[in-house]
């Protein structure tokens, strides 16, 4: 049951350190981030402010700065930090044999 929601989206090495790549699905785009210390996070690629593509932002620590108006989004939970409020949808990730898996189960009805 659980298993079928994990999708292999490609090798970790294909995402630049302190950078991001996108994964396209028919209904949305997901940004996959890789931090300086090799952690992987996935968020829907839409800034909670005005929909900016988070994948294009500067990654620092476990945060990304939206390229449009510089909101700072926490990669761990997708929440905006500081005075800003809003949340980008978070997708669980795991790494196996050098590949990134994203759990799309969060989209499934409970």
């Amino acid at each position: 049951m659980e298993e079928k929601f994990w999708f292999d989206v490609g090798p970790v090495s294909a995402v630049p350190l302190r950078g991001a790549r996108t994964v396209r699905t028919p209904s949305r785009e997901i940004a996959v981030f890789r931090t300086a210390s090799n952690e992987i996070f996935a968020l829907e690629n839409r800034c909670p402010h005005k929909g900016g593509p988070l994948s294009e932002g500067i990654v620092h620590g476990r945060k990304v700065a939206c390229p449009l108006h510089n909101w700072i989004i926490n990669l761990e939970d997708g929440e905006a930090t500081g005075a800003d409020h809003g949340c980008a949808k978070k997708f669980p990730t795991k790494i196996e044999r050098g590949h990134i898996y994203i759990d799309m189960g969060v989209l499934a009805p409970a």
Partner: protein, 838 residues
């Protein structure tokens, strides 16, 4: 090279007295986990048990960790033996050294050995450790390529050392560096090839990695980071290692130390549940209730292991389990790392990933090469990285394990355990309270008394104190303290606010940082941050791009641009728009275009259904609303028509506006269009502290608006008037006339020299006029118009840096550079996504 091993080959085995009723326990593998297991087992043994122990290595149990000092010659094999023959005899263990198990027969409950013998068990323990990973490059199995796992490997390395020559160690992790240091001590000429940007990246952050690299280099070892091995060269024996970038390193010995894989082969063949390793439960039991596994060969809840501390925990639990006790299950604890290279002190534990300044405390002492960082989350210690002074490692580790709330000691946490309990003073009071002989500047050995008396003799600024006493002249880290002394000594009279710190990571100004980068030859971000005592581990979004620019400007051709520190526009060479599409602006040299170029632009707009085409305020054409994935193809088409990137996104040269000039205009005095084109061709591609715009007008009527540009040229009958410091954006400001030249070549040289002075001195994000305000218009005039040697030198340096810079970024990307930027990592099709969405 038998002298490092004192044990003779095993004698033919004498049959042992077996207790017929006793339980039969068979252990496969006589490594560190098995050794500890048996110790723990016999310490608590209740029921009589006959143990048969198979070790593929032809020797007794030894401390594998200490192979590094054996390699370096600091220890002998005798020194690292854990269990000698007498120990096995005393426990009545049947040790079969040099005898590998080749199969497990679960139905018959016996194991088969290489010599064909089969030995029955009631309970079986698999402790086969792990195997070194050999990267699958051509030449990987040539003689002269070794791994670093057991004493045989060490012996092979010693043999190579006896002949001397070059050694290349592939892998800059713990193991690789210990191998490299050992080989260097043995007289080899050693290079380390490491894939990642800094050494030991799994245990260290980039600052500690920088210090480690220096320490390794100081041992005569050459370190190549971001280096990918392409092939190992040689016919009958290794002769070299070729890297992906084409460089070839000579090698008589190659040590592969790139990682390990759990050795689960036997278990897998026997049908036990395996994944990366042999899967065990919390009590080390495999999927067969009579078979257990322990050590590096196991996988526990998805995790595998590479350090001994958790293996010892496993051994203890398994021993208790085998002895019939009811132990608590295994939970892996955080493990700490040290590097066993004499003279290098480093320590790391836990999570050190977050480089957000709010979640860390950093202390650096550039003069002593010390870096300490404690990482906090929710007021608890979650990790620590210590370099140079590791005394408090155990204390931080303890705080981490206990999960104590450290908010009360946060301010003094980084000073270590010895400092706890002291009160925190406000910083000015703390400096004021210091005795006169307290050292303020560690680099130059300047104490408080010397600084205070200098201030009392009439000095009022940091610069003056620095010039007079040398305090803060070397790494600048004590600049903040000297300022506090100025404040404490001068009181009201101190005008400290005139100094603007670069950001909250440092007390230095932009200009001071630039000066240190130049004088101390700092060539990487970690070097700048460590040597100038940055207060954060990795900088912040405001200093990162600034430092990146300073390094690009200071070390053209040598420093590798830190691509990820750049804003998206500079990374993809197009301007992001509010809907996530991009705009594309090709250069139109000096505002001139041709019917062919216009046709090509029109074709591109049609072909890619670009929704808007606009003439910009900078005399060129903007294609708006281009989709990111179309960018390379759009550029390729524009390139094909001879057009290149207009850098409309860059902190660099934007446009050179011109008027028609003498060619057409009845008032024109010079070829203003021609000069504008030449200026644009000379300067294009150059990175600058902020954007730069130029204009050339053919006469003082100034139709090109040259008097509101960063650099403006107004042509007159007698030549060219050169203006600087105009702007027409957030601030509107008319230019100042800097001087006059007679000839066009001079106009080009003088303008480029001005630009270079700005590149070398300007603070990041200061438009040219802001820099001139700080630098002084008169000083600039003297530099450019009077000091001919200085101007020529500036011009030369500009040309040198342009050699590295003047490339068309579009063409580079059309040719494949950074291609990943423009493609999704993957596309999940409708079918797969449906499963997910339903």
């Amino acid at each position: 090279m038998g002298q490092i091993e004192k044990f003779p080959q095993p004698h033919p085995r004498a049959p042992r007295a077996m207790d017929a009723d006793a339980q039969k326990l068979v252990v496969i593998g006589n490594g560190m986990a098995a050794g500890r297991l048996l110790e723990e087992f016999f310490a608590r043994n209740s029921t009589p048990t006959n143990v048969t122990l198979f070790g593929a290595e032809p020797r007794v149990n030894y401390n594998r960790i200490m192979l590094s000092p054996v390699l370096s010659g600091e220890k002998k094999f005798d020194d690292i033996i854990i269990h000698d023959d007498a120990w096995y005899a005393a426990q009545n263990i049947d040790l079969r050294r040099g005898e590998a198990v080749v199969a497990i027969d679960r139905a018959k409950k016996c194991v088969e050995t290489a010599s064909g013998e089969s030995v029955a068990y009631d309970r079986l323990v698999i402790a086969t450790g792990s195997m070194p990973f050999i990267i699958p490059v051509p030449g990987a199995n040539l003689p002269g390529v070794v791994s670093f796992r057991d004493l045989d490997d060490v012996q092979k390395m010693h043999e190579a050392c006896a002949k001397g020559g070059h050694a290349v160690v592939i892998g800059g992790g713990l193991l690789g560096l210990e191998a490299a240091a050992g080989l260097a001590l043995k007289g080899m000429k050693v290079s380390v090839v490491h894939l990642m940007p800094h050494l030991m990246e799994r245990q260290l952050d980039s600052s500690a990695g920088y210090l480690l690299k220096n320490a390794i280099a100081a041992r005569g070892i050459e370190v190549f980071t971001e280096a990918n091995t392409d092939a190992i060269l040689g016919e009958t024996h290794v002769t070299g290692v070729r890297l992906k970038d084409g460089r070839v390193l000579p090698a008589d010995l190659v040590v592969m130390a790139v990682g390990i894989r759990p050795n689960a082969t036997l278990a897998k063949a026997a049908g036990l549940e395996t994944n990366r390793g042999v899967i065990v439960d919390d009590f080390m039991r495999t999927s067969d209730e009579n078979i257990f596994a322990v050590g590096e060969c196991v996988e526990h809840r998805g995790q595998t292991f590479g350090l001994v501390a958790p293996l010892y925990d496993m051994a203890k639990i398994l021993a208790a389990e085998l002895a019939g006790e009811k132990p608590a299950g295994f939970t892996p604890a955080a493990t700490s790392t040290k590097l066993k290279v004499t003279g290098i002190d480093l320590f790391s534990v836990g999570d050190f990933s977050d480089d957000d300044v709010n979640n860390e405390v950093v202390l650096r002492d550039p003069a002593r090469g010390i870096y300490k960082r404690v990482i906090l989350r929710d007021e608890k210690v979650v990790g620590a990285v210590l370099y140079g002074d590791t005394n408090d490692g155990a204390w931080y580790f303890d705080l981490l394990k206990k999960g104590e709330n450290v908010s009360a000691i946060r301010d003094t946490l980084i000073f270590g355990q010895a400092y706890q309990g002291g009160s925190t003073l406000d910083p000015t009071a703390a400096v004021a309270a210091l005795p006169d002989d307290a050292e303020i500047c560690g680099c130059n050995g300047v104490n408080k008394g010397a600084i205070v008396s200098a201030i009392q003799s009439g000095l009022t600024t940091l610069d003056e104190v620095r010039a007079a006493t040398k305090a803060s002249a070397s790494c600048g880290q004590c600049a903040g303290k000297v300022e506090l002394l100025l404040a404490a000594t001068l009181g009201e009279a101190f005008k400290g606010a005139s100094r603007k710190h670069m950001c909250k990571c440092t007390d230095l100004t932009h200009e001071e940082v630039r000066g240190f980068i130049r004088d101390k030859q700092l060539k990487s971000l970690p070097a700048v941050m460590q040597e100038l005592g940055w207060k954060s581990s990795g900088g912040c979004p405001s200093c990162q791009p600034a430092l990146n620019y300073y390094l690009v400007a200071q070390w053209p051709g040598e420093y590798r641009d830190d691509y990820q520190a750049r804003f998206i526009n500079e990374r993809v060479h197009a301007n992001i728009q509010k809907d996530g599409t991009y705009s594309v602006v090709p250069r139109m040299w000096g505002g001139m275009t041709t019917p062919d170029e216009l046709r090509a632009i029109a074709d591109v707009a049609d072909r890619f259904a670009i929704p808007a085409v606009k003439v910009t305020g900078g005399q060129r054409i903007d294609l708006l609303g281009v989709k990111k994935q179309d960018l390379p193809a759009v550029w390729a088409s524009l390139n094909a028509a001879g057009m290149v990137s207009g850098f409309a996104y860059a902190k660099g040269l934007r446009t050179v506006k011109t008027c028609v000039g003498k060619e057409w205009c009845r008032f024109g005095t010079q070829d203003s269009t021609g000069l504008g084109i030449k200026l644009e061709k000379l300067m294009c591609g150059s990175w600058t502290p902020a954007k730069v715009k130029l204009a050339v007008s053919g006469c003082p009527r100034n139709c090109a608006e040259a008097t509101v540009k960063d650099i403006g040229v107004i042509c007159v009958d007698s030549g060219f008037d050169i203006h600087v410091s105009g702007a027409a954006g957030l601030h509107v400001r008319a230019t100042d006339l800097l001087g006059h030249v007679d000839k066009e070549e001079e106009a080009l040289e003088y303008c480029a020299a001005i630009l270079q002075a700005y590149r070398e001195e300007g603070a990041y994000l200061d438009r040219l006029f802001k820099w001139v305000d700080k630098f002084g218009l008169e000083r600039l005039r003297k530099l450019i118009f009077e000091d001919h040697a200085a101007r020529k030198a500036l011009y030369e340096r500009f040309l040198i840096s342009q050699r590295a810079a003047r490339k068309d970024p579009w063409a580079e990307r059309v040719a494949g550079k950074d291609m990943h930027e423009f493609m999704p990592l993957s596309v999940l099709g409708a079918k797969t996504a449906k499963v997910a969405a339903e």
